[in-house]
Amino acid sequence: MGEMEQLRKEAESLKDQISAARKAVHDVTLPEIVSGTAVVGRVQLKTRKTLRGHLAKIYAMHWGTDSKLCVSASQDGKLIVWDSYTTNKVHAIPLKSSWVMTCAYAPSGNMVACGGLDNMCSIYNLKGKDGNVKVMRELAAHTGYLSCCRFLNDSEIITSSGDCTCALWDIETGTQKTIFSGHMGDCMSLAVSHDFNMFISGACDYTAKLWDIREGACRQTFGGHESDINAIGFFPNGNAVLTGSDDGTCKMYDLRADQELITYQDPSIMCGVTSLAPSLSGRLILAGYDDFNCNIWDSLKAERVGVLAGHDNRVSCIGVTPDGMAACTGSWDSFLKIWN
């Protein structure tokens, strides 16, 4: 038996043992335990605002920490910062490359970032001296497209890329401080924990990984999806991970139990999940799908309790404000809608 064959067998055997260890603590399923919990009832959110201005597909959006400003990125080559409340465009930033796939708002509100097929993460300073928004840094080192980016603070940002790695950058020097490798497929999205010590990534190898930012190491890996994981997020208590996949399902994995808790699926949902966001309490999960709708799931009972229907094309991104007041959906139909 060749060495590769032996190594593969060893890896498989270890994974089987871990499966067994996980089963050992699986003393009850989530549906069993929550059968006594009160039902949430039908959740009806209405469109309160429609943000018009993009001329092509919207690929990404991100809320600022004040729960009013948000940034969106579109294939029309623009990054727009909106005051979602007044629907005014605070900034309209033209991009060098129109193939943008992601955008992010810094927690301080001072900067936004974006990236895409140009393999770079471009940082824009919103609070420049003369009032103009200019490129502050172009972080180039990835050898694949930039699928997602999130600021830790004004000096550090984490990116995920089609080159199967994620990276922590120092914005000032423009260098990669840590590279997180381990995924066997394109990394599609990432989310940072509330204490900024960890982050999770979802990839086209159908797994999600938890990373320790400081150590640069992968702490846990979760599998079970049957196709690319497009969307990922932390449950508000920080102890569980939510994923959305092209297989049409969302899953919740618990970090402490080290396994999947529950799957959110329905046979009448055929299309993949593009994006997801939990509500403030975590009881609701809003997930955007390729079939133009956004479904609202009761996270504990795994039942659909609502639908956000209003877009004429794929829902590509979704975000819930930090104060939990509203949700924003962005679509290939070029509109952003605010719901609550």
Binding site: Y85, D254, G324
Partner: protein
């Protein structure tokens, strides 16, 4: 739950070529059920004025079948799913270019498997040109080009001006073959061909379901699998969706990667795993605790700014007002106090009153350090060390010897995370000691009981009354909105059924009022 191995194959060992194939397969399973002779949708030939309409079923038939056979609740869901399948081209309205499902007598037909999207069609414009050209030769009213098709034809004629003779010949040949077909068969095939083009060259304004997310399309596609020529060689027809592809989506790990994986899994084997029952309980507990703070589930006390167009909600969040609901949240855990600026301030105030604020101040300083630009970091690290950890520091903190040694090491090359170990130790200390004392303190308890936001009207009323009655009642804090005059209080108490909290300050009673 399907187990996936390291290269992402599902348990059948089949590797899907693209995420779309999963969707197509699900839809095709559904189509197979719809076409089932016994339990599917009844397909019939309808007699119309002078001719027959072969092989059709109505929109209502589809909706009814879906509601009966799928876990679909209502007509809206059925129409949504049906429109999705029509937009992908699995069935289509026979007299309309717009691919959507209507719950009425509109006639629909199934698409032939040759044209299914799972065959990975990427038809070229030359084929579209041949098709449109052929249509103009067929001289039948029902086959007349729509406006957008006529425009496309004109554009294609310009683009392929040099090739046009060739395209014309192809179209002629096709038309000839078509003429030889049986009339009924022709009707069906013509409509299916048109539906194919409605998917790949949709009516302007309609969604093109063949558009792929650029993140997915930039991955290497197996060139053998994509079919580009509709009217080319006939011997590559396949009537079943293909299930095996040549190029796996997820690559195999290299030797180094396998060794890393093995090391990783070995470490994972020894990790502690919490019982599912405990985990589930903690999840339920969390969602219940925060239920009242979740605006999607509990209507907020103050109006929703997006509905009412006014913003007391945000003003309150930004203000320093320690409203009861906000104060209560601090009791959920130390993180809630540290997250809220007002909570932080109150916590600090309390600790300062006990002369034990150095822990929190250290923690805050380290948090702030992490956000600093790199050039300021070394100086700041030194400052923090001098203030909190060095010999003879003015605000000495107690760290365990291990963290102390580690920190001393880190100082040789000061970075943002120099104090990480010390900070973690101090955090745990605060959580178990300072924080619990804070929550039990009378300062916190008072905040919890006392201040609820007074309705604006009553604030005005109180201000007025305080002003008027200041002398008579010698109120200790003349500007405090919480002070009330005795004559007003009974009236308000009756109306609002509120508890009164009386505390002795400076030999007079100050009465606090709650509004519910």
């Amino acid at each position: 739950m399907a187990q996936t191995n390291s290269c992402g194959q599902n348990s059948n060992g089949v590797v899907d070529e693209s995420p779309n194939m999963l969707v197509y397969r699900k839809m095709e399973d559904l189509i197979a059920r719809m076409q089932d002779e016994k339990n599917g949708i009844p397909i019939r030939t309808v007699k119309s004025f002078l001719s027959k309409i072969p092989s059709v079923f109505s929109g209502s038939d589809i909706v009814q079948w879906m509601i009966r056979n799928l876990s679909i609740e209502d007509q809206v869901e059925a129409l949504h799913l049906g429109t999705l399948m029509a937009a992908h081209g699995y069935f289509f309205p026979i007299s309309d270019h717009v691919l959507m499902l209507k719950d009425d007598g509109t006639f629909y037909r199934f698409q032939t498997p040759y044209f299914w999207p799972s065959n990975c069609w990427e038809p070229e414009n030359t084929d579209y040109a041949v098709y449109l050209c052929k249509r103009t030769m067929q001289n039948k009213a029902r086959l007349e080009l729509a406006d957008y098709e006529a425009e496309s034809l004109a554009r294609l004629q310009r683009t392929f001006a040099r090739k046009w003779e060739f395209i014309f010949m192809q179209a002629e040949a096709q038309a000839k073959v078509d003429k030889k077909r049986d009339k009924i068969e022709r009707k069906i095939l013509d409509s299916q061909e048109r539906a194919f083009w409605d998917v790949h060259r949709p009516v302007p304004g309609c969604v093109n379901t063949t558009e792929v997310d650029i993140k997915k399309s930039s991955r290497m596609k197996n060139p053998h699998r994509t079919r580009k020529s509709v009217y080319g060689l006939q011997n590559d027809i396949c009537s079943n969706s293909p299930t095996v592809s040549l190029a796996p989506e997820v690559r195999q790990p290299t030797r180094e990667e396998l060794l890393d994986q093995i090391k990783f899994w070995q470490k994972q084997l020894d990790r502690h795993r919490m019982k599912m029952s405990k985990v589930a309980e903690s999840l339920i507990g969390y969602t219940e605790q925060y239920l009242e703070y979740d605006p999607f589930l509990t209507s907020p006390e103050l109006s929703n700014p997006w509905i009412s167009d006014d913003t007391p909600m945000w003003e309150m969040a930004v203000s320093k007002e320690p409203v009861q609901q906000r104060v209560r949240r601090w009791g959920f855990g130390i993180n809630e106090v540290l997250k809220d600026q007002v909570g932080q301030d109150q916590f600090l105030k309390f600790l300062e009153s006990e002369f034990s604020s150095e822990n929190l101040r250290f923690w805050l300083a380290v948090q702030e350090l992490k956000k600093r630009p790199i050039r300021e970091v070394p100086t700041r690290v030194e400052e923090i060390w001098q203030e909190f950890l060095a010999n003879g520091a003015p605000s000495p903190i107690n760290v365990d010897s291990k963290s102390y040694d580690k920190t001393t090491q880190n100082l040789k090359d000061p970075g943002r995370y120099a104090f990480e170990d010390a900070q973690e130790h101090i955090y745990k200390l605060m959580k178990s000691d300072s924080y619990s004392r804070f929550i039990r303190s009378s300062a916190y308890q008072e905040l919890l009981q006392a201040k609820k936001k007074l309705l604006p009207f009553f604030c005005l009323l109180l201000d007025f009354l305080i002003h008027v009655n200041q002398e008579t009642f010698r109120i200790a804090e003349p500007h405090s909105r919480n002070s009330l005059t005795a004559c007003v209080l009974p009236f308000l108490c009756c109306s609002y059924d509120t508890p009164i909290c009386m505390s002795q300050h400076f030999n007079i009673y100050t009465l606090d009022m709650h509004c519910s």
